[in-house]
Symmetry: D2
Subunit: 378 residues, 4 copies
């Protein structure tokens, strides 16, 4: 038994999501961070590496030299750069036979996404995408319940993801997170759409097991001078007849990270909110609603698999994120050891979900450009 | 000082909303119920009247004979029948010079609504429409805050009204409330759209002070055999550039009467929920959110006017409904006494709001019929 | 069928609780207010009467002349004065053969309470005490569930009633509600203890069906110059072995009217909060908790009896208060008509509960005076 | 820069709290687990060590041999055994000049606690006690606000910790966690009192900065055959005049881990709940209440120091626990490096708080034995 050897691209000092990936990777102790190209600024890259106990000779100036040098010495690499770097970086490691964990959305353009997908297929490597909200125990529980028919046929899916941090022209101040997310060259065609709308979209498909067939989108850029959307209003039609709404906003003053999913079926409903993630409210036709809680009675295997602490000891964002990493670790370890992976670990979103997300972005942009005409997602 | 003399059309034994209107009229003791045509079934009408202490000679078999006989003896009449009777009944009393309080939606067709509007104008009488949710103190507070600029320019309006009681084919069982609401001849072209969607639409316009210019609607009838919509997904565009979503559903299993409004502006947001109506959450740019509560610190005149009890002594649905009645009583009394009414009592929705609601229904039906094409509401 | 003829003592202009009693009496239309001695100030009494449509010749300067004059003309009188007047006023009407509804606590001294109890017994009249929180549907539901054994044997009872309105020396400002409540001559020996502690005590005994046998109290007067307690910390021991805590405070800044009851038994628990009174949370051994809601599935007869509106249409304080009045109306009507009253209407707190409350006050004061020694309540 | 070398006593396979300590130690990557005496069962100890990547020659059969062998090779050891082993184990490492992190309560007897305190003093080593709830950012925020006078003088402190997992005779089933916690030989004289009551007590003193001078306790063992208390009702008197109540229960069916603290001062109040730890409700005299949230506006340095993620990305139990470890890491590193530690890292509870907790247990047991007589805590 050994820890997997992990590298990282991006995530140097001052970056948020790289820190998150590292804490997530550490939580269940299945990884050891041993190499990195942590910043496009070489000095920052090496200073960051030193602070993370990475040996100087495994701190690189750029991901290409890292991929070359680390072939055979890394099990997996995490790509935590802005979107426009994802594809090139991931492909460099896939070509070197190194499994990849990549932040979302998959890439900045649908074309790059398709190229990456081909690369994944060619490489035979594992590819995980950190749609981290799928790692929450109560999200897994919801998915299991829908699949088991607890709601009957799904009719209505309401999903929303609202934040308020871009309610002003923050990018003009030079704030780093805002700057690249509102720059189409680095972020892609979607603003709120890509950054958080893809999470909402993924969550809706993940939990319901249904595919969105068509959408009609009304995108807005409320903040003067903003180059990407900061608010998305989208109608959804799912295969099989369910309908839905998706609301994603980064100008929702007063909201922090309010991802919320509601699913209404013939005989039941489920409500889950990321900011209070330990509870899943189960509405039942003709019966009083039940509050399912992580670690509590009435849960199935999927939630149990993703649970570390007893009920009432709040788990949160990092634990859900860590679940993605730990499930991926099992998949990689099984591959290394030549055995079948624990089937509970196979829910990690991957290249297919990444492509879905890119089609969602492209479809919504196209729909909005055509005054909210219906667009098929294929 | 005397109580206003109130008559009622509809609301006989077994009816729900008639009981609500009577309790609302009684709460502040401004009305005295003295006459009625309480049911289209004469026996039930008279039995109902007796139980309500109405003198036998003022209990009528039909609204027309009542309007004729009560001219000069009634100050105001409440119309609490199914929708398709509203217009004819209201016009009979308007013709007799009697003020009218009418349940919503205004009528069953846009044509009838316009005919009624002409009748109101001709009569010179007062006409109130019980979009009762506008009577809640914290709704009035929200309206006052938006008008005072507390949010800055409004950007996004999310409104929803979800119920679950029609998740099955309840109308097939003969349940009375379900039967007429799902019968286009009695309810009109809208199902959930008319019954609750109009409340949501009215609330959004009432609080924001903005008019919906265009909408794109995707209506569904999820329950097999249902003749009207039971779920409405609608995109909204407001005059001035705000955008919104409206969700109305009567198949939302697990929901009782979940009317919820969120308004996001440039520098603040407000959230109000009918099922917890005493609180208004105020999100503020760069500051921690504040919980405004009825009867608590930080409220303005509009809320104070609509408040009966100290904070922490929950007021609810009936008090909000009563506010509509009591404000209307002031308007009627002022008319009778030849004085100017208290300006705080002028917020009662009326014929204009009723027409807006009917255009909303017609517009949404037309849009949905054209695959969610944008439709102007004029 | 006729409305009961109601008189009122106290409750003139500017009084809060009198208004509440009148709204409560009106809500279900079983009473007609026809006489009053509404204030000890004659001018205010008559002006108040006129505003309430009481005939001038039935507006009295004092309760004694009213009781004499109204014998045979009133069915029932409501006593809504400060505590020190309750006993004398109630006895005057009992002597006149008029049923009594009295505000809580029963009186200002245990001696007066016992004298009043003797008077009630002698008169043969009905006597209701407005421990109004027992009128809430979900409180009735809780009582029914405990009685039916849904929790198994009760082990722990946690009850609290916290308000913040007396956190400063409000009485020094002349505020009327504060002035008499902090004046031992008018309020009695208990401050927070009598004003709200008795509600908490009553609620605990009402719902559990258990009697508090002993208590140990630590009373405080945190506000400088205050002549009565404004905070009560009390340990409870119930007959049968259950134990509990009672917390009553009027210096709890940030609290409005936070009455909360939790009951833990061998196999279940119940939690109810007055500020969100529509929900009863049912914890169950080995099962996920259930949210019982007024008007929703899973409730029994007691809640149904006390329900006016469908679920999701919030009922509140006034409806609970009205339930006390309406149940009392049924008792009085049955007495008048010589029939047996509907058994669902027999839960109105009366003289026995009033005496319990006075013993609670006296016991807590005695215990606190003896440094929180245990005191028996008999 | 290097990770601290960490050893562990207890926490072998099947143990809960050891896993928690390890995840907490890992989260911020300041520790490396290199040695252990993980179980009193040698086979389990070695198997556990292997699974944790501990070298076989640093896995020990008992803590004494470990302390001898690891002197100079470990920076710090975590003691995560049942209570009765804490003192002996800690002293072995202190004697070897190794800093100690110890689970709570400090020991099983007051005598052992005092012996341990002497040992700590003698050794000059650092000693941290995992009253982990003090590591939550919003708890730190509360403490900072009270100290800064945001509430004015504190009047009332209500603290409770309720769980339901011992509502039945679980220890009879052989469940390991229940077995030692209900065995006075291993747990000490307190049951719920020691296991969770000490957390509540510590939290109250930590946040208010006030010392409990006297208490009056009513302890119960509701479950037949139980050898320790499973419910504690305690009155508190603080130095300076504040009063409080402490409720700790492990028979509170329906509760998971409901630690809640409310502090009421002259001009403000604070409410914090462990099961929703990201929010701190701030009641303010004459103003609407504010919801302070982790990562949100209006917080001070203490909360910022303990925060890893942006607001709305829920942190929970492990992050709070990790804060204790990371603050201790800074203290140890500063000691090693001969520099002054970051003052924000000095809030870790230590031997003094451990002694307070043991006096609390002993005092409550004595008080309850004397029928809830007041006992001084010195």
């Amino acid at each position: 038994v050994r820890r997997l050897r992990l590298g990282m691209v991006g995530g140097g000092q001052g970056a948020l999501i790289g820190t998150v990936h590292r804490m997530a990777a550490r939580l269940d102790d299945r990884y050891e961070l041993v190499a990195g190209a942590l910043s496009s600024d070489a000095a920052r890259a090496h200073a960051s590496a030193a602070a993370l106990y990475i040996a100087p000779d495994r701190s690189y100036d750029d991901f290409r030299s890292m991929a070359r040098a680390e072939a055979g010495r890394l099990d997996v690499v995490s790509i935590v750069t802005p979107n426009h770097v994802h594809a090139a970086a991931a492909m460099a490691f896939l070509d070197a036979g190194i499994h990849v964990m990549c932040d979302k959305p998959l890439t900045h353009t649908l074309e790059a996404a398709e190229e990456l997908a081909a690369s994944v297929a060619r490489s035979g490597c594992l590819f995980g995408l950190t749609h981290n909200y799928t790692g929450y125990p109560m999200v897994r529980q919801a998915r299991e319940m829908v699949a088991a028919g607890a709601l009957g046929a799904v009719r209505v899916v309401q999903v929303e993801y609202s934040q308020g941090w871009l309610a002003t022209n923050l990018e003009a101040s030079g704030q780093k997170q805002a700057a690249w997310r509102t720059d189409p060259a680095r972020s892609g065609a979607g603003g709120a759409l890509g950054d958080i709308g893809t999470h909402a979209f993924n969550l809706a498909e993940f939990v319901t097991g249904l595919r969105v067939e068509r959408l009609a989108a009304d995108l807005s850029s409320f903040v003067a001078g903003r180059r990407v959307d900061d608010n998305a209003h989208i109608l959804l039609r799912f295969a099989g007849g369910a309908k839905g709404m998706l609301f994603a906003s980064q100008v929702a003053v007063g909201c922090d990270n309010a991802l919320k999913l509601r699913i209404f079926g013939e005989k039941g409903s489920l409500t889950w909110q990321q900011e209070g993630p330990e509870t899943l409210t189960w509405g039942r036709l003709g019966e009083a609603p039940t509050m399912l809680t992580r670690g509590g009675p009435g849960l199935g295997d999927a939630a149990a698999h993703a649970t570390r602490l007893p009920g009432g000891h709040p788990e949160g964002y990092l634990e859900g994120f860590a679940q993605i990493y730990s499930d991926m670790a099992e998949q990689i370890s099984a591959r290394i050891e030549g055995r079948v992976a624990d089937p509970r670990c196979l829910l990690v979103p991957g290249i297919a979900e990444g492509l879905r997300g890119m089609r969602f972005i492209a479809g919504a942009v196209a729909s909005s450009g055509a005054d909210a005409a219906w667009v098929s997602l294929g």
